[in-house]
């Protein structure tokens, strides 16, 4: 009787329970099984090759392109274009430097080649990344808080930084230029300049830096600081115009410096400083400049200026002859393909082939594009880059 009861218990109670439990487990696991996968250790993101077509560029083997990456996303990346093979290779840093923690960093701001080394100024990572120019492999880094741009002379690199000393009122915080010994990769000296210093040029023994004051709206800085490189002291401030940014030094000892205006009433313009007298000699009122690049006597300029008054961006292009100070053309892209640009963000001209490169940052949060134009302004090729493509550095050494 007892065992029968047990059996009955088993049959009526336990077995259905077991089968029900099985069904239930299956039911509950079903969504889990449907899930596309589990975690693995994240692989290093591999580079991506695109064949865009090659060419002969003389002693220029190719160029590196630095993608800023949106702030806080740690997505600064490096691309490389090779003339011999015609391959555009996207995102080469991570796979070549798997041991560098957090890859290239957050918001790349400048890229230059000096000697056999490639220097990337990574703004929000507060450092200058130093790489081998033929392998793009990490050599070292120099910590410079809020670093912006880099120039070189002899044994030293000079990096502009927003992060000057804080005096009594933190609202009035000047920037500085750091002097870095390229052998030891150490900051050996600093020189306080204006507010939020940006691009620099070196002429002879003088370093010129454009002070923007971008954080002091509406009281923008309007000066160019001149530093004597022997004493590494600021010797002069040249008053120019509000919100200065870009700088190019031409073969005639003139510095072309861009003023971004105030985005409301003061229009963006370009000014010319004579390095003999350290004075502004001319204002190119009709030459607004987001970025420019000099090739021979031709200054290639584009402007992508936002106006809060009209809530629109106005994009235009120009080539200026730096000898005559005349605008040669307002159209260096001649096939109409500039209509594809969403946010032109960088410009470079190959000094050997005179090919024009324009980068498009698009919406900043997805990959940008690079466009290559013939000297006549016809589209040769274009391809996807990393996020916010900005600076291009031509190299004589082919990437190994």
């Amino acid at each position: 009787m007892l065992s029968d009861a047990r059996n009955e218990f088993s049959i009526n109670f336990v077995f259905p329970f077991v089968t029900k439990m099985k069904r239930l487990c299956l039911l509950l696991l079903l969504p889990v099984l449907l899930f596309s996968g589990c975690r693995t250790i994240e692989p290093v993101t591999p580079s991506e090759k695109t064949d865009v077509g090659g060419g002969d560029a003389g002693d220029i083997a190719g160029f590196y392109l630095l993608n800023e990456g949106n702030m806080g996303s740690n997505k600064c990346t490096l691309d490389y274009y090779d003339y011999a093979s015609g391959i555009y290779r996207k995102n080469i840093y991570a796979e070549r430097n798997p041991g560098v923690v957090q890859e290239l960093g957050d918001v790349g701001n400048d890229l230059q080649i000096y000697g056999k080394r490639l220097y990337a100024v990574v703004n929000c990572s507060n450092l200058v990344e130093v790489m081998d120019a033929t392998t793009a492999r990490h050599i070292g880094q120099v910590s410079v808080p809020n670093c912006r741009y880099i120039v070189f002379k002899d044994q030293y690199a000079y990096v502009s930084s927003y992060a000057g000393p804080v005096e009594v009122d933190p609202n009035y915080r000047l920037g500085y230029v750091a002097k870095i010994d390229t052998a030891s990769l150490r900051v050996v000296d600093t020189c306080v300049v204006g507010y939020q210093p940006e691009e620099m040029v070196i002429k002879g023994n003088k370093l010129y830096v454009a002070n923007s004051g971008g954080y002091r709206v509406p009281d923008y800085d309007n000066t160019v600081s001149v530093i004597d490189l022997s004493s590494f002291k600021e010797t002069k401030k040249i008053e120019v115009a509000p919100n200065l940014h870009r700088m190019e030094l031409d073969a005639y000892g003139k510095i072309w410096v861009s003023s971004r205006g105030d985005y409301y009433d003061i229009e963006p313009m370009t000014y010319i400083i004579d390095t003999q007298t350290d004075q502004v000699i001319e204002c190119m009122e009709l030459l607004a400049c987001s970025d420019m690049t000099l090739c021979g006597d031709s200054l290639y300029v584009y402007n992508n200026a936002w106006s809060y008054v009209t809530q629109t961006s106005d994009v235009n292009y120009a080539i200026v002859n730096v000898k005559t100070h005349q605008v040669v053309t307002r159209r260096f892209i001649t096939d109409g393909t500039e209509a594809q640009f969403q946010n032109p963000y960088g410009i470079a001209v190959n000094p050997n082939t005179r090919e024009i490169f324009v980068t498009d940052a698009r919406d900043y949060i997805t990959p940008g594009k690079i466009y290559c134009y013939t000297p006549e302004g016809r589209l040769k090729w274009s391809t996807n880059t990393g996020d916010i493509p900005s600076r291009i550095a031509f190299t004589h050494q082919r990437l190994q």
Binding site: F17, L27, S36, T40, P145, Q340
Partner: protein
Amino acid sequence: MILTLLLMLMLPASPPDTLALDASVVSAFRQPEKIIPAQTLQGEQLEKLNALSVADAIRYFSGVQIKDYGGIGGLKTINVRSMGTQHVGVFYDGIQLGNAQNGQIDLGKYSLENMESVTLYNGQKSTAVQSAKDYASASAVYLQTRMPVFSGKRRTNLKATLAGGSFSTINPSVLWEQKLGNSVSNSFNAEFLTTSGKYKFTYRKKDGYDTTAVRQNGDVRALRIEEGLFGRIPEGQWRLKFYFYDSERGYPGAFVREEPGKFRHEDRQWDTDFFTQGSFFKKWGDYRLNASFKYAYDYLHYLSDPRLDVSTMYVDNHYRQQEAYLSVAQSYDIFKWWDVDLAADWQFNTLDADLVNFVYPSRNTLLAALSTSLRWPKLKLQGSVLYTFVDDQAREAGAAAESRSVWTPTAVLQFIPFRDKNFSIRAFYKRIFRMPTLNDLYYTFIGNKYLKPEFSTQYDVGLTWDKYWTRGIFKKLNLTVDGYYNVVENKIIATPASNQFQWTMVNLGLVKIRGIDAAVGTALALGPVTADLRATYTYQKAQDFTDPTSPWYGGQIPYIPWHSGSFTAAFSYAGWNLNYSFIYTGERYESVANIPENHAQPWYTSDLSLSHNFPLGKHALCGTLEVNNIFNQQYEVVQCYPMPGTNFRLILSFLL
């Protein structure tokens, strides 16, 4: 002992449990739910989730993504069915929490300590009498705090709780409920939280770097005080509430490449929020009236000081928001099966900030909702139309956006096709919009006053099946499945103006979302052991159709996984409770460009807790030990914001 069922969906009040004070309390005047079903967590169910804040609990709902910047102090916002945070209304004791500045509610700021229930409605709530605001968002979360209940002849309930654990967290609280006469009672609740916010986390790459660091500057100090008066009148009730919250927290910031230990991130935020709100409800025969008011003052101070962190620029901003709100809602039963509701709300917001060129905006919002519902045994129908009028003012002439008036409809249907009343089919259509926030329109250098409202349209079809057994092991099984299609038009997105530092807001976005929400729950009793199991699953295909020329056209929008789900199991035996919770978020992308660089790994965490009630004569002591993320998974919900690994919490409650 009967345990409340874990994570019951669409079921009303839960049975009483052992801790009288912890019993889920259901208002005597709660109106019968009409048509739209909801997901609810209440009473003990909430306690069993190892959840500290409302945000932690909401993760267990289907169709929901929580954006979590990590740690106790990190911002936590909710996104329902991929329509965006600003389309979710969050209501505290029936009245909406406002943030006219950016439209986001940080759910991490709302404690579960005194929460009676958390409910999520897709579409809108539908009770017999509700404010116009209840109709005014694409989906809504209702946070209902505890109402005092006194068992037997008790006139006082006193509960003291001390919780503490990982990240040097100390979290004491006290609840004092007092009966004041027959029909009025008082509730006082205070909670303090302090935590260092420090936790270890690891970033590693296959055959690459492997680094472990400690999250810095994630400390929080917060004080919350709530004082409530509850009164009953014949065929009605009234409530009055004062809420005060004061906190200081650090911003740990994005974890990006830096020379380790070189720069200390020291930017901080101080919040002081105060609101007082009240409501009055009374029924006269077939007529019901609900009137409510609110006044809120929110103060936020953000400081980034280069004297503390040389790499940052000096920012010292103060924001002050004020809100006044009035609502009158009424409903009338024409017949037993047909009622009509009419509600009118008025809201006034101001924003004050010490920003350059700030226009000091204020906003008047008028809402009127007309709704009717028809109920037959097999079919229930509800239709409503909402009128919204928004008028902004600014201190500077011409700076304010033009006023808007918009009509938006909703239609809801529930159908019981078979004799089994526990099987029902439902469907709803809802079109609603969100106004651009005051930041969207007026934030210096970013705002764009020409913005249009952002519209969402939702189509939903679903079914529910419940089954109960009185004999056998299975006590209950319920199942819900919904399929939906949402379109978000004129989506307000930030777009770069000309460099990293200049962004502006535009009406560019178009997003289409197709999804499935499913939930299954069951309750079992095997001798003295009871078990409650629940699983949810969400599938979402949320595609961006903003720019047809973009190579990423049709890509999955950022941070929305295709697959996500949760599983919870609660077992109880002789005063012991053992709970297990599992959350799964599948692979997703951090950008609409669905490429390897933006790929985010799936993450899944398992939490365990064990609790026991120790009766001490007339008093009781309840102890709970929680272990969260027991497998120490290193993951991030938001790119560059690492989440904590394994962590502990011990909670002791003493009932007087």
